[in-house]
Symmetry: C2
Subunit: 120 residues, 2 copies
DNA sequence: CCGTATCCTCATCGATACTG
DNA sequence: CAGTATCGATGAGGATACGG
């Protein structure tokens, strides 16, 4: 449970996961990123990307010194390990909402891995 | 990506996942829940639990009408399907932070499931 | 192109006190 | 026990404009 909270601290907020998701597709530049993460403002993107860099999830690289400057953001290996998290979130978000009509179709077996997670 | 955002909408905030995690261990009463979800106030627990009920993630049952009242919160089957999400978050939160020193130890293979998620 | 500076609003969260 | 009421702090997030 502590580790779930830890993860939530690093990934909390509206934008961090969507940014990482975009970068899973490969390195991106600032404007590119802003286009893919629909709805984010330059201010928020700048701020979030800064935090993600501090936490070692991505790397920021300035390509040229002259104007116009080019900056590339690349996911670190550590950020890459978030893939299972995003995948789980994605799978869950895709679920139909008619679970109440067909509850028997949704089955999750616990007892093994469950104990480890719940006990932590 | 839309589904990741959908999931984030339902699970956003500081407390929803920790509450669900606690309920994965079985039905709980209000006070029990407040004890297990360390740091949450009665106000927040009340509010979060209400939202989770509206979204069909848990069920609220009043056990007795006389005082002292007993209320039990039980995870719905739909809420149960969040287990993979919590597990992924938990696994990720457990990772050592020395990834920078040993980047080669962290390997994630993409290319199959990756394409589906990134394309969504 | 890549941001930062301001200003602003609103939701989130917390503390404390109180009720059925 | 299971909450609600009230007040207040904080910060996330957005709009707009501007700078290197």
């Amino acid at each position: 449970m502590r580790s779930v909270r830890d993860a939530l601290d690093l990934l909390g907020g509206k934008w961090k996961l969507p940014i990482i998701l975009a970068l899973l597709g490969g390195p991106k530049r600032f404007k590119q990123l802003q286009r893919e993460v629909v709805g984010i403002t330059a201010k928020m993107l700048s701020k979030e990307v800064k935090e993600l860099e501090i936490n070692g999830l991505l790397r920021r690289q300035v390509q040229a010194e002259a104007a116009p400057v080019a900056v590339t953001y690349t996911l670190e290996a550590y950020g890459d390990t978030l893939f299972p998290v995003i995948e789980a979130l994605h799978d869950w978000g895709r679920q139909p909402r008619n679970h109440i009509m067909h509850p028997q179709e949704i089955v999750v077996e616990k007892t093994e891995a469950f104990e480890q997670v719940a006990a932590a």
